[in-house]
């Protein structure tokens, strides 16, 4: 149908504009031609025209190729905008209600819905992609037409459906201007309604989502792919469907989003599934970080479960666990996330007319943005996700879906095994050589690797003492302490306040890390820097144990620009100690700001050694590992 749309250019531009643009004019900054098309499209009835006008050339794929001049100027222009196909698509998408979250083809899912057919390729007649055979058109069109609206233009032609209200008209009829206008009005109304609906999470069955923004920029993506016809078609479809999804992606807080940028925050909020209320008084320096009132959103989210249809339950569960703090610690979170993804991949089936590679990537992205809403990603998770996406992108095209899925699941298992579990073992092996009889080892917080090291050294029969340093509010050290004491290690427990007193007895400091950055900075549980600095002052070697998959090429000089804020209540209140809750009633005071940082950055000067799966290296060599093994990490 699309090609026909372009044909519509015949109709006068103004009318189309009106019809088309009502809801979201700003985005339309696109050049005229697309607009024209769009407006026209809704009244797709004009399709007849299309048929007439659209030459076979129209059917060509949207691939960016110098436009053929034979078409009208409009065509050319559209063609020129490289991105145009997607745009066109997205426009159409607007009018059409598409199940929002399933970016994939709605058609497969809900017959009742009108899906915008993948006509997009055809829609840009101006572009001639010689590469694309006409056949693609056929492939493209899998549309369930609403009963009312059905018109197929020949086998090759794809149906375009417009809005459902409009649908009453058969496309083929020629509409007069007036008629068209009426149509448009109707559409508009429909759209508005749809939007209203759509804003709420679309219900699983039939949700109408109006893609909010079709931005020209998006268009670029689809255009970039030049593949065989079928692929193109698929991608285009995606382009169309994806619009909503993309929005999601975009709006989900970027991992390093600056939360003091109001407009962005607003946008992100609109999108957010997890409605987090922001804490009111935030410390000036940390306004760029998200801070939420914790504890309230859980029930909220639970009720939303059925509305979030694209979210796989496993992912959802993990998200909630992040939110409630049931899963914490870099490795645990990463493994949990990967296992949820594995589940999701297992249950995944590629929607018709989509390619697994692109669709699955998009799906994973939407999961990730959900997880980000629950709790900002740790750097290790970021790396893991990068790995997974890379693996997906590198899947050979020839693989069948089930093969691809099992390959991905294997990759995930392999990652967990090799990069996390095995490398922990290697680290333990290295670290144990640094423990001698009579040592006093100090550790801070609860790191899984450090725990393994201590236990293993104990098993080897080394005689040493352990000092577990802990801090409020999480008191994770107590967990570690419990396990160590149970195994019979001799332990001392103290809070970080006393670290300078205890440090003189200590011979080694073992620390875990959330990440080690390129300049050797160790990014870890807040308080680590303090412990490391005290150790340095006492000339006690500081050993940081960190798996290499947690290394990151970023450089960070302080703990301010990137960090995570915890629940401020946690530091203002002490559970079970009513008598010392001096801050009761003060929490909402204007002039009181509570800061509960989760991480801090330890400069590399205070780190004597980083123990990783590649051996013991000085912190200055972290970039070497990152550089030499990046490919290795991605297995690409």
């Amino acid at each position: 149908m699309d090609p026909r749309r372009t044909a519509r250019t015949v109709s006068d531009p103004k009318v189309r504009q009106v019809g088309f643009f009502t809801p979201a004019p700003p985005e339309r900054s696109i050049s005229d031609p697309p607009r024209f098309q769009d407006p026209i499209q809704p009244p797709s009835p004009s399709s007849t025209q299309v048929n007439d006008q659209s030459p076979s050339g129209n059917s060509l794929s949207p691939v960016m190729i110098p436009p053929a001049h034979h078409h009208s100027d409009n065509f050319l222009r559209t063609a020129l905008q490289a991105t145009s196909p997607p745009k066109a698509f997205s426009y159409s998408a607007k009018t059409v209600t598409i199940p929002p979250e399933n970016e994939d083809v709605a058609s497969s899912f809900s017959p009742g819905r009108k899906v915008v057919s993948a006509k997009s390729p055809s829609s840009f007649p101006g572009v001639k992609a010689s590469s694309v055979p006409a056949s693609e058109l056929t492939t493209v069109s899998v549309v369930n037409l609403p009963p009312g609206i059905s018109e197929k233009a020949g086998g090759a032609s794809v149906e375009v459906q417009n809005d459902r209200p409009v649908s009453a008209k058969t496309l083929k009829e020629k509409t007069s201007k007036a008629e068209r206008r009426a149509l448009q009005e109707a559409q508009r109304a429909a759209k508005a309604a749809a939007k209203a609906e759509g804003t709420k999470a679309s219900s699983a069955a039939s949700k109408v989502v109006t893609s909010a923004n079709t931005k020209p920029s998006k268009a670029t993506k689809p255009s970039s792919q030049k593949n065989d016809g079928s692929q193109v078609a698929a991608s285009e479809k995606k382009g169309g469907d994806r619009a909503p999804e993309k929005d999601r992606k975009k709006d989900a807080p970027h991992p390093r989003m600056q939360y003091d940028d109001k407009s962005r925050v607003e946008k992100a909020k609109k999108r957010a599934v997890v409605k987090q209320t922001e804490a009111r008084n935030r410390v000036e320096l940390f306004r760029h970080l998200p801070q939420y009132e914790h504890g309230t959103q859980l029930p909220d989210l639970e009720t939303k479960f059925f509305e979030l249809d694209p979210m796989h339950p496993a992912v959802y569960k993990v998200g909630l666990q992040y939110l409630s703090g049931d899963i914490r610690g870099g490795n645990a979170r990463c493994i949990a996330m990967f296992q949820a993804f594995k589940e999701a991949i297992k249950d995944y089936s590629t929607p018709p007319e989509k390619t697994l590679i692109r669709d699955l990537t998009a799906r994973i992205s939407s999961y990730v943005s959900f997880l980000i809403e629950c709790r900002p990603l740790s750097i290790s998770m970021g790396n893991a996700i990068k790995f997974l996406k890379n693996r997906i992108a590198k899947l050979p095209l020839a693989l069948s879906e089930s093969e691809a899925k099992s390959m991905l699941m294997l990759d995930i298992d392999r990652f967990i095994n090799e990069k996390i579990i095995l490398s922990e073992k290697v680290i333990v092996k290295h670290a144990v050589t640094k423990i001698r009889d009579g040592d006093v080892l100090l550790t801070y917080g609860a790191s899984s690797v450090v725990e393994m090291i201590l236990l293993h050294a104990h098993e080897l029969g080394k005689h040493f003492r352990v000092v577990v340093v802990d801090s409020r509010p999480k008191l994770e050290g107590q967990l570690l302490l419990r396990r160590l004491v149970r195994k019979g290690l001799s332990c001392t427990y103290t809070h970080v306040n006393a670290v300078s007193c205890i440090m003189q007895d200590v011979t080694r400091v073992f620390l875990g890390a959330s990440s080690v950055l390129s300049n050797g900075t160790v990014y870890s549980r807040v308080g680590t820097a303090c412990v490391a600095m005290v150790a340095h002052a006492f000339c006690v070697p500081v050993l940081v144990c960190c798996e290499a998959y947690k290394f990151h090429e970023r450089v960070q000089l302080d703990s301010i620009c990137f960090n995570e804020l915890g629940n401020p209540d946690a530091i203002s209140k002490v559970q079970g100690r009513e008598e010392i809750n001096y801050l009761d009633g003060f929490v909402n005071q204007e002039n009181l700001q509570l800061l509960n940082l989760i991480y801090d950055a330890t400069p590399s000067d205070y780190v004597s050694m980083v123990i990783t799966d590649y051996g013991m290296i000085p912190p200055t060599s972290v970039p070497v590992i990152v550089r030499e093994y990046r490919r290795d990490h991605l297995w690409s």
Binding site: K434, R508, P541, L543, S608, M609, Y614, G615, M616, I617, P618, T620, S621, V624, I625, E628
Partner: protein, 402 residues
């Protein structure tokens, strides 16, 4: 620095007249008794093999001391004796000293080691090449296993020598993961390995030359260099500088137990370089006159720090606190995958120390022969890979071994 250069000329003249001549003699006289005493007093097992041969090579006086030592013959001193004669003696000593099950890499190693100009690592690699030559293996895998055994026994024979370990590792690395394996038939691969091993000695010599060339930029006219211990590389550097007609003077520490500083000053005096000898404890006292500290290294470790003769650490500390640069000259085959966290974090290389008087048995003596200098006290490393900051060492090691 430059203001000092004017006075330096004067200093030099003075010193030439006064200081230098006496030194060699005094040293000649003083050193023999102690070293002999060493060998007599202390049972060998206490002494790291590395330092045994070192003593043999580097003893300032060999002839008369040798005579005495021979007079005192004991099986244990064999090692030292053999150095005086030639490599042929070695096999017997290897038989007694190390327990060698193979055709005896260790003998081979020792015989190579007797050549004073040959570095330990080179000797090790030559010994391993001999293993290849003697091996009956018919496949690469067999050969590899054999080599592995040999290198393990070599390493075990003297666990304290870093460059021996590093040399073995390096060669094993080469055998196990290089293009040598790509040769179509076993014999040519084998031949290639041997060839490579033969070349290694040359490479090590070349490395010394390269280091000497690279370091010339750092030695400027009128500078005063403090050196510690005796290092072939450092000597090469200074020699080259002297040949390039640079005007500089050298402060040599005495290098106490084995007086390696005396030997170096001896060599330098032969080159007409003004030398001043210091006792080891005078380092801080003279540091304000010094423009740079130049030391060799037994081993360069992963952190970029060095393991070197006892006393290097304190010199580095003193010069760091006085903001004098500390340069290290070391061949890249001394890079070792070790990472000591502190001084006690490595197996001590023990060495006898002679105090000139009997020490009551209740008094404990620190016998460790070397210390670890952390990278933050080093300015630059002159290696055949270029002039490196300490942090690059780990980079190179990672590329070499991972």
């Amino acid at each position: 620095m430059w203001w000092r250069s004017a006075s330096f000329i004067l200093d030099r003249q003075q010193e030439q007249n006064t200081n230098l001549p006496p030194n060699p003699e005094s040293l000649l006289l003083s050193s023999p008794p102690p070293s002999m005493a060493d060998s007599l007093q202390n049972p060998k097992p206490d002494i790291s093999a590395y330092y045994q041969t070192r003593a043999a090579h580097h003893a300032v006086v060999t002839s008369d001391w040798l005579a005495q030592a021979q007079a005192a013959v004991s099986v244990q001193t064999n090692d030292d004796v053999s150095s005086g004669s030639d490599g042929r003696v070695a096999p017997t000593c290897g038989g007694t000293g190390g327990d060698n099950k193979t055709f005896s890499v260790i003998d081979e190693f020792n015989s190579w080691r007797k050549q004073p100009d040959l570095a330990e690592a080179v000797a090790a690699i030559r010994a391993l090449a001999a293993v290849i030559r003697a091996s009956q293996a018919t496949t690469m895998m067999e050969l590899e296993i054999e080599l592995k055994k040999a290198s393990d026994s070599l390493k075990a024979w003297d666990a304290t020598s870093i460059s021996l370990t590093a040399g073995c590792d390096l060669f094993m690395r080469y055998v196990t993961r290089t293009s040598a394996l790509e040769y179509e038939d076993f014999n040519s691969a084998r031949y290639r390995l041997i060839e490579r091993a033969e070349k290694f000695g040359e490479i090590s010599y070349k490395a010394r030359r390269i280091i000497a060339m690279l370091s010339q930029d750092f030695i400027f006219d009128g500078c005063t260099i403090l050196v510690h211990g005796f290092s072939r590389v450092v000597l090469e550097v200074l020699k080259t500088a002297a040949q390039n007609k640079k005007h500089f003077r050298v402060f040599c520490t005495e290098g106490r137990p084995d007086r390696t500083g005396l030997r170096l000053s001896n060599e330098l005096a032969k080159l007409d370089v003004p030398v001043k000898l210091l006792i080891d404890s005078a380092v801080a006292y003279t540091m304000d006159e010094v423009d740079m500290v130049l030391v060799g290294a037994d081993g360069v470790v992963e952190s970029g720090g060095i393991i070197n003769m006892m006393g290097t650490y304190q010199i580095a500390l003193v010069s760091h606190s006085m903001n004098k640069p500390v340069y290290v000259a070391a061949e890249s085959y001394k890079f070792a995958r070790l990472y000591p966290l502190d001084q006690k974090d490595m197996g001590p290389a023990l060495r006898t120390i002679d105090f000139g008087v009997p020490i009551p048995s209740k008094v404990e003596v620190e016998k460790s022969a070397r210390d670890y200098t952390p990278p933050q006290y080093l300015t630059l490393l002159f290696t055949d890979l270029g002039v490196l900051t300490p942090s690059v060492v780990s980079d190179e090691l990672i590329q070499l071994y991972l």
